[in-house]
Assembly symmetry: none
Homo-oligomer: 233 residues x 2
């Protein structure tokens, strides 16, 4: 067995056992302990395992730093429910628009069950999460709107206007009983309109916390939306 084969073998073993001692690895792989330690140092420097006195533990993908935005996410549970419901409207082969909201971000994990989908989003965060799940995706690019981690502006909208999507999932800051869907930034309202214009269907994802909140900019009205997805009925 070659060195790099041994490295992936160590990872395989860890995948199964989560942690193991240097001594056991040494016996299992028929090499001396110093060799195992060298291997582990390397794997540690690559950030794949964590060494401890006497052994190693697998570094879980859990402790990644990215979801900073999503961590401080409120109503995360309802959003998850809504996201799952939304996947009902996805078909294999669809071209999907996702806006840059945290609600919509929760759809990502569910999308990997579909084949040959292409996703277009204006959120770098969602784009990267899609990438992690192995989902082919395009990002619009444009000016980064910092507080909402979204690309906006003419560049972003131009990109959107070149795509013909099957479905759009979007959210917003608030909606009113009368059907007005509103947001607090022009730029974001604008790009959502652009997405809506170029998508066959548009699903509005909203949790109850958004009810009866009115912000400065109008996105659209309930009647412009194919369906509204909520946690309740």
């Amino acid at each position: 067995m070659y060195t790099i084969e041994r490295h992936s073998e160590i990872l395989n073993i860890l995948e199964e056992k989560k942690s193991i001692s240097v001594e056991k690895l040494s016996k299992m792989l028929y090499v001396s302990a110093p060799t195992i330690r060298r291997d582990l140092s390397l794997l540690e420097s690559q950030g794949r395992v964590m060494r401890t006195h006497g052994g190693v533990v697998l570094k879980q993908a859990a402790e990644k730093e990215i979801p900073l935005m999503l961590r401080e996410d409120q109503n995360s549970d309802s959003k998850k429910i809504i996201a799952k419901k939304a996947t009902e409207f996805v078909r294999d082969g669809d071209v999907i628009f996702l806006d840059a909201s945290s609600t919509v971000a929760h759809i990502v994990p569910y999308l990997k069950n579909f084949k040959d989908i292409i996703v277009v989003t204006n959120s770098p965060l969602i784009s990267m999460k899609l990438g992690e799940e192995g989902i082919r995706n395009y990002c619009t690019g444009g000016l980064l709107l910092i507080h909402s981690v979204a690309y906006v502006g003419s560049e972003a909208e131009r990109f959107v206007s070149t795509i013909n999507a099957d479905v759009l999932f979007f959210s917003s800051r608030g909606y009113e009983e009368n059907g007005n869907i509103t947001d607090s930034s022009v730029e974001e309202a604008s790009i959502r309109k652009a997405m809506m214009k170029n998508s066959e269907k548009a699903y509005y994802l909203c949790d109850d916390s958004k009810k009866n909140k009115k912000y400065m900019y109008n996105i659209c009205s309930f009647k412009d939306v194919t369906k509204i997805v909520t946690e309740t009925e």
Copy 2:
């Protein structure tokens, strides 16, 4: 048997055995070990196999290459030094291109000392880091190249071509003594060329680990670069 026939024969053998020694290949194909090694270097630079001391292993598609974004990056200290040195070439008010390399990513924290700069990058990761530092930035958008967390393709290049930048900071997988700067993916090489074309100045950031590594795709040559920034002189 011609050279390229030998190459595909090596791949065939590997397909079946997954890994094999240089010595065995040498005997099976009736050529000397150095010849096999040359073949393997080539196949490796094409990303089809992984060399290891004593032999080669097939690069499984499944070979879970930890995405850049989760990988703790190596040579982080030298990269930090290089990044700091690079900031010497930034002026207030500059429009700056940053490519999607981890070396270049280390520049971000130093950029917040400059006023009125605008940064354009094809990396969602760098874009978000810039955002966190409060630096005004645009991302190119385009197709997400997963393993390097970079946007590439015609959309990304089109965006770049609309920008006139003052400086570009870029890196690559490898460079040779003779001045060739190369990378392992066409797409990434291509977008770097596009950035170079539209920037007044271009600084190549390279740490010693990249020395004398040759990959399949040419980006440019030392003479096309304004200055090379290294950890040493």
